[in-house]
Symmetry: C2
Subunit: 164 residues, 2 copies
């Protein structure tokens, strides 16, 4: 069972390679595979409202996620999150646990809904997981993601109401 807590700067030396490996794969996030450490720190730690880490019972970092408003003021009641799981921790339900946690945090922070803007269609595990967790596919953006292996592939906009 993963413990999820706020990110501290002392986590960065473990969080950074996790993010770097994910962005370098170029199959799930639009952030450049050539992003510098400062750029990755900016998008994952500085820009978001809050960043979290998922830990094993012995304190090993298994994943990380951020939460932030998806749009400026008149759209700022909808949040956006990004989740990354360490390669060695995949298939253990960490993404699912982080997404559930982020929804609770989102409600606590006053967000009314959560939106994913660019879910890569070929990332089938992610699409399946978000659907299972109650997200609806708003629609498909044709060729909106330049997959490093597959070239231009479709991306989905996904959405879930948080408030009851």
């Amino acid at each position: 069972m993963a413990l999820i807590r706020r990110f501290h700067e002392t986590d960065w030396p473990v969080v950074y390679p996790m993010l770097r490996a994910t962005f370098e794969a170029g199959d799930s996030y639009a952030f450049s595979p050539d992003s510098t450490e400062a750029e990755i720190h900016r998008v994952w730690i500085e820009v978001p409202t809050a960043t979290y880490v998922a830990c094993s019972p012995d304190g090993q970092l298994l994943g990380t996620y951020f939460i932030k408003p998806n749009q400026p003021d008149l759209g700022a009641h909808v949040c956006n999150c990004g989740y990354v799981v360490a390669l060695a921790a995949q298939g253990q339900g960490i993404a699912s646990a982080m997404c559930e946690h982020s929804q609770a945090e989102g409600i606590f922070m006053g967000f009314r809904a959560m939106q994913f803007n660019l879910v890569v269609s070929t990332n089938e595990r992610a699409v399946r997981l978000w659907r299972k967790l109650g997200f609806s596919g708003v629609g498909t953006l044709p060729g909106a993601f330049r997959h490093l292996q597959l070239g231009y592939v479709d991306a989905l906009v996904m959405f879930k109401k948080l408030s009851t």
Copy 2:
């Protein structure tokens, strides 16, 4: 017939009140109605790849638009634009002319598609115009825009391929 050209800083004293009035209405853009001049300058002039103005034959400014990548690197082949028409110039086809111009500029800059992320559903004139200009509704984001008069209203994601 409107002439459309690149924005120059000397246009700002006329462009700024145009943007300010639009954002203050709180019925079409998510930018805060209380945005400062510096914030408006940042989102309209500094962040975008380029900003343009539409002028009457005698040089009066009738509208303005920006173009920028909609996502970071692996999504940066899709552009995003925002258009504002001066209150006194509405209903003269200025938005239409600017949108056509932006599509040509987008193609010239190498963008493959154009995406609008938050078209306010109650802004029927805009929705109708984008459809007429070839944009498809990707889907509807329920309650994603906090309209200053109407409260939470739906918003549309709209998309058009630019490359042939």
